[in-house]
Structure formats: structure tokens, C-alpha cells
């Protein structure tokens, strides 16, 4: 052993830095209180501080940081949606994601893989073509491809016709990517905290002080605080938190389950999604297959895992990749998703003055983390709704101007 190493080990102790500051005492008052310490809330806090100089901000999280749906999604980033409103919105998110490791000086393990949405029926081929044309029109790289090209991109995929649902074509989206979900939230949290944003974990909101239709304070299990503005970003519990502020949302809370296999050597490059088979699968940077299915059939405030989910998922997955039958499932979990009737989010103003909403993220929330944070921060700072998120306001449901993303947002169609 080199002497210097021995000396180092005996004398110098490596200086450990805290990742985030410890939860401070609650102050009496903040300019902005963000309810929910997941990716969305933390991103909003970061952009409020960086882009708008608003740093007297508290992020309140009832549990630990980014432990809700930020930790439970399957980390896919893409913008190949169906509506022009959706495509433009998610495209800005993909562009922010591409530079996010640099911007935050924090490695989010962004990995561009290409994204294949398989079509097993004529109807699905038609939807893929429709999406490809809308995408291309808006400058998003997306095209309809057929089995010869699919075989080149993903030779492991079973393209034979000896299955219940043979593959007829696919929507190919080259910018489709994976990112480390925890890293995204931690990166935003760390930089926001450097600007002076306070992050309060184990701090549960129990109510709001509303005077003459305007929010003026937030009640928590650690005491009451006054606030200028509130941003609600609490996927899964959106309806219950909104109820505390006395308004309702077009949301059903529905569990979505996922699982990972044991880690194996890299063999699957693209992200594979099948709408008809209710499967999405990708291989993470540490070799695990990350797998998910459709949201469940009825509402439930629970993150339990079921055998039925695994049975259905594996039945379909084995049609696509017969050899994964040898793999074992390592972990499974569920998240509570905010499902909206049109499969688009709810962002912007609420009936309560100075109370902003970021909800309805169903199964499409992680990929919108940067753009939603940036644009909600802009909304809060300027009081004006940016054109990019205007189509997603709560009021659309009262004007019958839904943004129908069912064909592109979920696998359950």
C-alpha cells in the first residue's frame, strides 16, 4: 500500500457535504408557498428563483423529497403527442431536458434512446400516422415505420405473426429518452436551495386561510404561515388538497403500477411501447428492465401492488420479447395518478385568487417536469398565463375545449 494512501486514510477525513440544507424553522411569511416537494414543485421553485428573482419561497412536502410520483414513474421523456397544443408543450420540455444536466450542473443521466410506439391494428397504424404528421408539422422528429425498419432498430423484438397481436408498424420518435427521475428532482432542489428557497420535508398542509376568495395563509402540521401566493403541485392527492381550498377538479385518482427486473447486460436500446398490449418497457442505465402497464380500471387512493397487474403485463411482454421469461421481477410498486377526462393536465388559475394549480398529470407528468416548472413559475411571477399552457387551464372544462390526448398520452386505449 502506498504510504500516502495510508497517511490519507489516517489523517484527512473526507469532507462530506449535505445534499440539501436541513429543514429550517418555518418563517411567519413567504412570497410563494409551493405545496408538494416533487419534481414539479421543485422545478417551479428553481425557475421562480432563477428566472424571476423570487427567493422567499417555501416548498412544503408532507413526506420525504420527491417520494411520490416523481419516484414512481418509468422515466420516459418524449414529445410525440397528438394535439398541436400537447406537441408544442412537451417539445419545450424535451429541449429543456436535453440541456438540464448542464443547466443544473447535476448529472440526470439523460439518455436518448429513440421511442417506438408499436401498432398492432389498422386503427393504431392510422393513429401513428396522424401523430407523425402533426409532429412533423410542428418540427418534432417523428415518423411511421414498418417491420423492416423496426427490425433494424430493435432486432430483439418478436416481429413474427405467430402471436395474438402481430406488429404492423410503429411510430418512431428518435428524441425519445430516459432520465434519472430522482436526479431531476434532486438537481432542481439543490440549485433552488442555493438561491435561498426553503425546502420543508415532513411538513403536511392541513388547510388554507382564504379571505374574500383570496388565499392569504397556509396551515401545516408545524404551524400556520402567511403567504402571497400558493402553487399546488401534489399529484395523486390533487382533489383532496383542492377540497381544502374549496374547489373541485376534473380528476379521478387511479393507481398505475410498474416493476423492474433484475439487472442484465445492455440489450435493449430503444424505449418500446405498445398501446394495444398495454405495455411499455425500457432498459435502465443500470441494466434493469423498467416495465409498466395501463392505469387501473377504477379509482383508488392506494399504492398497493397486485398479482393481476404482473400477470397481464408479462402475458403481453412475452409476446414481444419471449426470452425475458427467464428474468425475475426485482421490485414492483404503484403511484396514484391524476386522470383527467381528456388525458391532458390542468395548469394555471383556480377559482381562488393567488392560488395556482399544477395537477391532472395522469401518466404523463415526469416528462413535463422542466416545462411545467418553468411556465408555472412564469405564471406565478407575472400573473399572466403563458400561451404555451393556456390551453390546459381548468376553465376549459366549462367551455368544452378539452385537449384530447387519449390517443397519445396513455397506453390504455
Amino acid at each position: 500500500m502506498p504510504l500516502s494512501l495510508l497517511k490519507y486514510g489516517l489523517t484527512k477525513q473526507p469532507k462530506l457535504q449535505r445534499h440539501f440544507p436541513p429543514t429550517p424553522e418555518l418563517k411567519n411569511s413567504y412570497d410563494v408557498v409551493i405545496v408538494g416537494g416533487g419534481g414539479h414543485g421543485l422545478a417551479a421553485a428553481y425557475y421562480l428563483a432563477k428566472n424571476w428573482g423570487i427567493t422567499n419561497v417555501a416548498v412544503l412536502e408532507k413526506s420525504y423529497l420527491a417520494g411520490g410520483n416523481t419516484a414512481r414513474n418509468t422515466t420516459i421523456v418524449r414529445s410525440n403527442y397528438l394535439t398541436p397544443e400537447g406537441v408544442q408543450f412537451y417539445d419545450e420540455s424535451v429541449k429543456l431536458f436535453q440541456n438540464l444536466s448542464n443547466e443544473l450542473d447535476y448529472n440526470i443521466l439523460y439518455s436518448e434512446r429513440g421511442h417506438l410506439t408499436l401498432a398492432h391494428t389498422d386503427a393504431a397504424v392510422r393513429t401513428a400516422r396522424w401523430r407523425a404528421e402533426v409532429n412533423k408539422h410542428l418540427g418534432v422528429d417523428s415518423e411511421l415505420i414498418y417491420p423492416d425498419e423496426i427490425a433494424r432498430l430493435c432486432p430483439q423484438l418478436n416481429l413474427g405473426d405467430d402471436v395474438r397481436y402481430p406488429i404492423l408498424g410503429a411510430l418512431y420518435h428518435p428524441p425519445g429518452a430516459l432520465a434519472r427521475h430522482d436526479g431531476v428532482a434532486w438537481g432542481y432542489a439543490r440549485r433552488a436551495a442555493e438561491y435561498g428557497v426553503e425546502i420543508h420535508t415532513q411538513t403536511e398542509v392541513t388547510g388554507f386561510d382564504i379571505e374574500k376568495g383570496k388565499v392569504v395563509g397556509v396551515k401545516t402540521n408545524r404551524g400556520n404561515i402567511q403567504c402571497g401566493k400558493v402553487l399546488q403541485a401534489v399529484a395523486g392527492m390533487s382533489s383532496e388538497v383542492a377540497r381544502m381550498a374549496d374547489f373541485k377538479l376534473p380528476i379521478k385518482t387511479i393507481p398505475l403500477q410498474a416493476c423492474v427486473s433484475e439487472a442484465v447486460k445492455p440489450f435493449l436500446d430503444p424505449i418500446i411501447v405498445s398501446g394495444s398490449l398495454h405495455v411499455y418497457v425500457s432498459q435502465s442505465s443500470r441494466g434493469e428492465l423498467v416495465m409498466g402497464a395501463s392505469a387501473e380500471a377504477y379509482p383508488l387512493y392506494s399504492t398497493r401492488s397486485t398479482l393481476e397487474f404482473k400477470e397481464e403485463l408479462m402475458m403481453h411482454l412475452l409476446e414481444m420479447f419471449p426470452f425475458v421469461g427467464k428474468l425475475r421481477v426485482l421490485r414492483q410498486w404503484a403511484g396514484m395518478t391524476d386522470m383527467t377526462p381528456d388525458f391532458s393536465p390542468v395548469m394555471g388559475l383556480t377559482p381562488i385568487e393567488n392560488y395556482y394549480i399544477d395537477a391532472g398529470w395522469g401518466t404523463w407528468g415526469f416528462k413535463a417536469t422542466p416545462v411545467c416548472g418553468k411556465r408555472m413559475a412564469e405564471t406565478i411571477a407575472t400573473g399572466k398565463i403563458p400561451d404555451l399552457i393556456k390551453p390546459f387551464e381548468l376553465e376549459r372544462f366549462y367551455r368544452n375545449e378539452q385537449v384530447g390526448e387519449r390517443g397519445a398520452a396513455s397506453v390504455g386505449h
Binding site: S239, K248, K252, A297, L300
Partner: protein, 96 residues
């Protein structure tokens, strides 16, 4: 396997049933505002706790009402919709 008791067909796998939404009273379409009608169509109570909801046994197209705890997924009871709704709704076009 999660079981549900259909008032018509007895105990069945819950996969045989289709969820049909919260039981809410319909506003009078001829008299209510557009705002109220939109809320009836799209806005949800989405309660965490015990709720009443519509379910259908798919194979027999039989609609009924279930009382279920949305936190624990316990089905407390199921009963025919005639316990709550005895009158048929007649739809008439609203007067413009």
C-alpha cells in the same frame, strides 16, 4: 383475485365489472346553467374514503350501485339502483 358481489349475479371476479363513476344527482338539463351541466359532466368529487359509485356487470349489462372505501378498496355493500332511484328521467329538449 378481488371479488365483487353483483346484486343480480352474485359474487364475481372484479374484472367482470366496469366502473361507471360516482353516484351524483343529475341537474335538470332544461333548467340548469351551462356551468352546472359542465360540472356534472366533468368535475369529480374524487373522495378519499367511503363513496357510492355506479358499476356494471359487463356480461349481463346490469347496472347497480356499490359502496366502496377508496382508501382500502373494501367493498362495503352493493345494491340495485332502485334503492336510490325510483323514477325514470324523461329528457326534453331545453328551450332556447
Amino acid at each position: 383475485m378481488k371479488l365483487m358481489t353483483c346484486p343480480l349475479n352474485g359474487e364475481r371476479n372484479i374484472s367482470e365489472f366496469v366502473y361507471g363513476g360516482e353516484v351524483v344527482d343529475m341537474p335538470n338539463p332544461a333548467a340548469c346553467s351551462d356551468q352546472e351541466w359542465s360540472a356534472y359532466l366533468f368535475i369529480e368529487e374524487n373522495t378519499k374514503g367511503i363513496v357510492k359509485e355506479w358499476w356494471m356487470h359487463a356480461a349481463s349489462s346490469y347496472w347497480f350501485i356499490a359502496e366502496r372505501n377508496t382508501e382500502t378498496n373494501e367493498i362495503i355493500r352493493t345494491f340495485p339502483s332502485s334503492e336510490l332511484y325510483m323514477q325514470r328521467v324523461d329528457f326534453r329538449a331545453a328551450k332556447e
